[in-house]
Amino acid sequence: MSKPGRFVVAGAGISGVRASLDLAETGHEVVLLDTAPVSGGILLALDRQFPNDHCGMCRMLPMLDRDQSKYFCMRLGMFHKNVTFMPNTEIKEIGGGPGDLKVLLQSWSAKVDPDLCNGCGDCLEVCPVSLPDDLADSLSLRKAIFKPGPNTSPSTLAIDPDSCILCGKCKEVCQTGAITLGPDYEQTLEEKVTAVIMATGVEYFDPGDASMYGYGKYADVITSLAFERMLSSSGPTQGRILRPSDGAPAENIAWIQCVGSRNLRLGADHCSGACCMFALKQAGLSMEKGSRPTIFYMDMRTFGRDWQKYLDRASSSGLRLVRCRPHSLEARNGGGLMLSYSPVPGELIDEHFDLVVLSVGRAPGWKGPDFSDQDGVLVTGGSKRLLDISRSLVSASSVSFRAAMISGSPVQAEQGDSITSQRVKVKSKVLVVGGGPAGLSASLALAGQGISVVIVEKNDFLGGNVSQISDAEARERIRELVRDAEKNQDIEILLKSRPMEFSGTTGNFQTHVLDQQNKGPIIEHGAVILASGGSQSTLPASLVHPKVMTVFDLHRRLDDPEIKEKDLNCLVFIQCFETRTKEKNYCSRLCCPTALRSVEKIRSTHPESRIIFFYRDIMTPGDLEHLYTRARELGAIFIPYQTDIPPKLILEKEQVVVEGFDPYLGEEVKFKADLVGLGSGLGPGSGHELAELFGIRVDREGFLIEADPKWRPVDSGREGIFICGLARNPVSLDEAVDEGRAAAQRAMRLVYNPQARMSVSTARIRPALCSMCGLCWTVCPYFARYPGSKGAMEVDPLACQGCGACVAICPNHASVLEVQGD
């Protein structure tokens, strides 16, 4: 075993923090840097995040090695013994090769000594410079010396070198002598590291630059980031929703979506991927404060597993959604704004709003030099794609694993430690259920770190849905994963098998795996990764017709020479076919991109055929938006429909007719279709069965549920059991691979050391007092209890997180919390 690696992570936003924690938890050393004086990135400004309106950032803290990170709210900052945070620092140069990079870092003086500053704020009073506060997106003013985050710790202030006039007044009043205004010093530092992770985040569009919607001209037009601060009780309005122009309460609020995105004139042929949800959240929170919100949108992009339900909740609690892009607005006498919009053809409305919030788009943002092409430099998070929190974390964990693998040798198990935490012996083996892309990438990642893996696959082949995938490149990628897994000596593959009995405690599980003859081994393993996949939904029997198929089947069929040569006058796609409705209330994410990709394919053989889409919301987040634009450019016609009047399929012997309503024409339209593709979605496979066997949660639709949809996306909630891929939520191939690696990363942290450390504080049972009433079992949120064989409840030592719920519910104090060490 080699020495632990050392890594530089550039960007201390949520992706950078996640990647750093992942590496730190498996014994590596990390230098985490940011150009800002504090860590936290954009999340410093967001008190609550969708899809549950909660904060809970602290849940991403290490669950096991928790004593290594301080017990802190993550909004205060990130602290871990293996992570050195360098504020005001950027990368100047990267040299060398992977595994042996030389990184030149440059730091500049913060002018305020964090060891001396006590955050008293006397300097804020005397600083003569006032300028718009970036954090509040110019909603309020700050001084040249300022508090860089609403509640960062240590509570140090910082000086913005660009606006400071060096008048020295702050220095005069500072009682601790923390301020140095001398010549700017810059310090360069060379780090020798295994790999560099770039997690440099995103930039938000400035609507002032494009003179959009009177931003900068009317005070009551603000960005969504400014509104976020307005919602915060630590923000400029203490959480009250006010018109900036006159401080009057803002009752009617309009959100305008896609400002700076989905706009070809601005060269923004992308979707930011999160603003719809962001606006829904803001609107929902504003309703709690008594406002009446309206969201102006084009496509409500609720493409995450639970997002459609989130939208439904908001709508049912009174949120108004208007499908159109407003044209312009004007100031109104007596405050507020007049917004002109046209929700349906022929109708023009001027409506008064107190406040207009521009949902500003994002774009990858990094002003420094681009090192992404360099070997040994990996890119993650929003800086790679426009991701929401959950996907950012998955991406960061995936990348951190790849970074760790660059060192080429497995992570060393951590030995002695100054902290006297108790340890539990764990099995250094992981059971992976499912041999699709997610399971394979998880297995390969673990095997690459010297952890042995058993893959249990129900089919007699690996690769999951590979036969269903028409994209040759994707197919080849999966085949490569299969080949790599098959020849890896650390991976044992059990085909035509399924897990049947499961028992034990975290780190020491036993699973009986049975083949079709009901025979098979009992596998002892430390962790489980559930990657059981899923499949496309089958169409109802009433729709069996040679011309009607799912969009996935249609996409494949387009490769048939027979179809290529056939006369195709008209193809009709019906998206969200019986999905995003009561029975199956989620977006499958892949139907839209697949159908849109089909357009290009059709055009290559049939330049003149008519291509019609009936859709509710086209779901093409991020770069996928280009697929939509391209399909329109290729002449596909998009007709939105509402769930109460869906397009009708009339099946006849030789032909299929699709009837629908075109809202722009205000008329019925009718198409004789040569082929019909239905976006009927994807569904999880054996979710319910697995959930029951492994004692984890599953949703109504059969998707395995994570411990926390944002902060612990691949944790099942039961320590030692991890979930990824289509079993958890509809994902693309890339995402499945990322989730597999992220799950591997989480499992790795548990089993890489044969002596896993327990949490500092865990519950213990005093067996003599236990009456086995089971109250503790029921209240334990971590599944860390089980009825023991000796007439008393027992605690799963690695699963227990020391929350004390068991202690509070046990009338007899048979359950007690023990704190080790200090």
């Binding site: 003599a768 007092l769 009433c773 109250l775 209240v779 007899n812």
Partner: protein, 366 residues
């Protein structure tokens, strides 16, 4: 399940006749044992007795107007230990509630129990019963037919309007019936009906209308209960009065021992952490001039209330056991009522109803 109402001719000996009917269950092998109030050597006080042969049923007093202990605990013990056999247990309605509550706490299983309960006229305090019994050996039968005797029941029973059993397999009907001629028996579940079949009962020609008798009793006891809660509520709200009532506590912990719901193996209050530090006592003494030395009894009672008030089934055994005649049950029931109302919970009502402090799981959002 339709109730199957039938009569049992009592020939002025309702207890004996009912015992024999129960004996038939043993005789026919429908149950492997019957647990019911009975007399064993050494005492005339009815105690839970386990009968396994029908000839032994002569000492059984199933409708005894006294209960040395709450039979809930014993029934629960049977339910926990006995598997694959059926045991009939004769319980008062409050005891049935106790068993159900204990089942929720995983202290028993209802699977092997056939619960027989009755419309309860209440029980007398043990000493009053024994005194009366020496003068009148037929007291257990007479009591069922004599409302002036029933008025001598324990104060808890006199203020109990939950006298109709809930959750039993068989209900024995007494109110509004000429009990010296016959009592009514109905099966409330499939098991209950199966057992009743074996008792060779006569099917009713014309059923008695019990409604008026029940309503009268419910009204009477309900009023008594409200008065009690009112009175006790006032005491509870007034620290001086409360102290006066509780001041006589000796710290014998009998109330805890008697409580069928106190299921802990060893009470938390018996532990060191409940001992008052002498410094505490002396600090208090310095402040107020005096402080009672055996400290922490108020903490004991409060803790028991915190732990048990939501689950109190109102059997009154705690009061019966108290050597200082502290109306522990009154205090508990009054408090229990308030807590149960707040939590919208009724102990022993339904085995499926979760313990209120576990119900957070069903809640979403704020």
């Amino acid at each position: 399940m339709d109730k199957s109402f039938a009569f049992l001719k009592t020939n002025n000996q309702p207890n004996r006749i009912l015992s024999r009917a129960l004996g038939k269950l043993l005789d026919k092998g429908l149950v492997s044992a019957v647990m019911a109030p009975g007399i064993t050597n050494g005492s005339d006080l009815p105690m839970p007795v386990l009968f396994t042969r029908d000839e032994a049923m002569e000492s059984c007093i199933p409708l005894a107007p006294a209960a040395g202990v709450s039979a809930a605990v014993q029934a629960a013990r049977i339910g926990r230990k006995v598997k694959d056999k059926r045991v009939a247990v004769v319980l008062k309605p409050c005891e049935v509630r106790g068993v159900i509550e204990l089942a929720k706490l995983n202290q028993t299983s209802l699977e092997s129990l056939a619960i027989i309960s009755m419309e309860c006229p209440g029980r007398m305090e043990n000493d009053a019963y024994l005194a009366k019994l020496s003068a009148s050996p037929d007291l257990p039968d007479l009591y069922l037919n004599d409302s002036s005797l029933q008025d001598q029941a324990s104060s808890t029973c006199l203020s109990c309007d939950a006298f109709e059993p809930q959750g039993a397999d068989i209900t024995i009907h007494l109110f509004g019936l000429p009990v010296m001629e016959h009592i009514g028996i109905s099966g409330m579940t499939a098991i209950g009906n199966e057992l009743i079949e074996a008792m060779d009962l006569e099917k009713p020609g014309a059923a008695y209308d019990q409604r008026e008798a029940m309503a009268r009793l419910r009204e009477k006891r309900g009023r008594a209960k409200e008065e009690l809660f009112q009175k006790t509520g006032e005491i509870l709200k007034n620290p001086d009065q409360y102290l006066e009532v509780l001041g006589n506590c000796l710290g014998c912990f009998n109330c805890r021992t008697a409580c069928p719901l106190c299921y802990c193996r060893e009470c938390v209050c018996a532990r060191e952490s409940f001992d008052r530090d002498l410094d505490d006592v002396s600090n208090r003494a310095k402040k107020t001039g005096q402080a009672r030395m055996p400290a922490g009894l108020s903490m004991f009672h409060m803790t028991r209330m915190v732990h048990m008030s939501h689950a109190c089934v109102g059997c009154g055994q705690c009061s019966s056991y108290c050597p200082s005649k502290i109306p522990v049950a009154d205090l508990f029931r009054t408090m229990g009522q308030q807590v149960q109302n707040t939590l919208d919970y009724s102990p022993g009502r339904d085995p499926e109803e979760p313990i209120p402090y576990l119900r957070f799981k069903t809640e979403a959002g704020s």
